[in-house]
Amino acid sequence: MGLRVIEFHLEARSGVSPYLQIVGQVRQALLLGLLTEGDKLPTVKEVVAKVAINPNTVSKAYRELEHQGLAAAKPGVGTFITRSLGQASLAEHGPLQQELRGWLAKARAAGLTEPGIEALFTSTFRESAESAEEER
Amino acid sequence: MIWLTWRQFRAQAVAAVVILAAATAYFVATGLGMHHSYATDLASCTAQNDCDTLLSQLRYKYDAMFNLAELLVVAAPALIGIFWGAPLIGRELETGTHQVAWNQSVTRTRWLAIKLAGVGLASMATAGVLSYLLTWWAGPLDQIDGSRFAAMTFSTRDIVPLAYAAFAFALGTIAGLLLRRTIPAMAVTLAVFIGIQVLVPTMIRPNLLPSTTVTYTLDESSLSQANGIFGQGGSSGDFYMSGLGVSQGAWVLSSTPVENSSDQPIPLNAIQSCLPAIGPNGKGGRGGTDFAQVGSCLAHDNLHESVTYQPSSHYWPIQWFESGLFLVLTALLSGACFWWIRRRQN
């Protein structure tokens, strides 16, 4: 059966459609270095047996990953990662993280509460993610 | 489907087998002794010519057991109807398990057919065993009684119990099907079955075959077979003689009162002069009254009485007819079950 490399979860009320959540979780895993080129993604059956979601959702997510050039399906064998995302791992983004800490300090100083900071970040992040999608 | 029917019926089958085994043990153990006593008594009394007394004693000795045994065999079909018939479909509808059974790959018709056939045959077999046991066991006692036409006796001998069991089972099944609840179905089955068992011996059984009516002129020869006078209203009321000239084993259905030559019933006190003083066994008793003498006394009064009866030769034909009647009812009820089940389908 092979290594169980990644497990998915579904956030019911996130406003992001389920298949995109899966795509996002694969991309996140790639960024964190948990998945690399050649790794086999879990089969549709394995995913839905753990996370009670519609198999079509998983199929759609995998097709999207193929479309983004991140994975490829080998009939009868499975779906495999074809490339990594951004060669550097998260740990190497020290300067970016410093900038982020600075911004957080500014936000707190401006009087935002924790949920407020999170809301501001999430909506801005989503906006820019959607426009980045549209550009492609 | 046969497996499922058996599996659902298993507990009841085991209970039935246990009861039948106990009944067999009981009947065989007591019956062998009784049959032996009868044979011995019969041999000795024929020589001494006091068979009436000796055999009556034997009969009386087993009277309590006799009544109890008949009661059990008459109750058996009712119990079958209640415990095997009413839950057959009623329980499934009540608990919703029919939704499991009807959504496998067997049609509803087949489901019903196998259940009805399987448990129906088991019902008839159970009743058959009990009837066979009792008929064998009571053989000598029935001989002493002279006939098997008494209401409880007829209903518990030979083949009618099988037909009753089949009918009660079908009755229970359709009650469960229509009422969709086991307990109410049990109650309705019991009530209807008891009603029918009261109705049939009194209103239907006597008319299953044409009966015979014989008119007897009261004289010494006709009254020599009499065994009692039954008054219906004191000394000024009607009366009739019982036991008149009827062949051994006949089933007396009715008797007109004693009437004179103008077909008018006469009151009891009209023949007072011919009646002896009350014998040691009391009025109507057989032991002390010499009816032949009463007969010769009344001979010149031109009195007559008409008796309607079924001869003993009609016993088996009536058994068959009554069984047939109940089996026809069973078929009708079963057919109704099928019709009802199919009604809900497209």
């Binding site: 009670a52 519609n54 959702t57 | 489907m1």
Partner: protein
């Protein structure tokens, strides 16, 4: 393959009560269909007609191209688990599997056995002694192991605790992934269905309100918030499903093929639960209005 369920003006009447009315529906294969609606809306009636337990009083229905429960072959193609997942209380788990094996020609004994082991059910345990969740899983196993093309489940998770609920759905999805079975499952809670359903049917007051692929429905509906205005002031190609007004503000739920043009409003998609609730409110409201009209007519 043709539709798994094709209903035309389907109706069921009990005396004076109309349990289901004018239901026209065509459900494509390969989906997990969520049938949602309040209690008494007619969900159970529709499902019972689909599996042949009830006969309709008007209209027509075809399931997998045939009349429901027409013959043993048709019965073999559809698995049904009724509300409260009935099982035979005095039959053991193993007995239930034997029941399935004896009564179904396409019974998959290995699949059934594997699932029982996976669920850690004791084969000798009588079904009456199992917990609600275990009974539901047993009933589902019996329905799935007969290898149906279509599974019909009536409120299968209604009486289950959250853990049992999740476990049930996981096993159901696993079966769907493995066998390609189509599923129709009903619930009066949208939250039960959101995770697993990709086709939605909304039934309220015995009438069909909405039917379609979940993604399409979510994409086609918008909530528009703007200053107070009339429905007719909105673009004409938007169908107004629901409108609510305060003194200053109007909120509309609209349906349209394309995205609404930018205007002096905020247009947003709805969550599935809100979408279903909107249609339910609409149905309840028109029911109230119909009743008021009736009483007014009577007067």
């Amino acid at each position: 393959m043709s539709a798994i369920l094709h209903a035309q003006a389907l109706g069921k009447r009990y005396g004076r009560r109309q349990a289901l009315a004018e239901c026209t529906l065509e459900i494509p294969p390969g989906h997990v269909v969520g049938l949602v609606g309040p209690n008494g809306a007619g969900k159970t009636t529709l499902l019972k007609i689909a599996c042949g337990m009830l006969a309709p009083t008007s209209g027509r229905i075809e399931v997998l191209g045939e009349q429901p429960a027409a013959d043993p072959t048709q019965l073999a193609r559809i698995g049904y688990v009724a509300q409260d997942t009935p099982t035979y209380p005095n039959l053991s788990v193993a007995d239930h599997l034997k029941l399935g094996a004896k009564l179904n020609p396409r019974w998959d004994a290995e699949l059934a056995q594997a699932r029982i082991e996976q669920l850690e059910l004791d084969p000798k345990q009588k079904a009456g002694k199992l917990s609600g969740g275990q009974r539901a899983q047993l009933a589902l196993t019996v329905a799935v192991a007969k290898r149906p093309e279509l599974l019909i489940l009536d409120e299968p998770v209604a009486s289950l605790d959250p853990l049992a609920r999740r476990s049930f759905l996981r096993h159901l999805m696993e079966s769907v992934a493995e066998n390609g079975t189509s599923v129709i499952l009903s619930s009066h809670l949208v939250s039960d269905l959101e995770r697993v359903c990709d086709y939605l049917v909304v039934l309220v007051s015995s009438r069909l309100q909405l039917a379609g692929e979940t993604d399409d429905l979510l994409a086609q509906h918008y909530r528009i918030v703007c200053t107070r205005r009339k429905e007719s002031d909105l673009p004409s190609d938007l169908e107004v499903i629901w409108a609510e007004h305060t003194d200053r503000q109007s909120t509309f739920v609209v349906r349209g093929d394309a995205e609404p043009p930018t205007g002096d409003w905020v247009a947003d998609h709805l969550e599935l639960e809100d979408l279903v609730l909107t249609y339910m409110e609409r149905a309840a409201d028109s029911g109230r209005r119909a009743k008021t009209l009736k009483t007014e007519d009577a007067r």
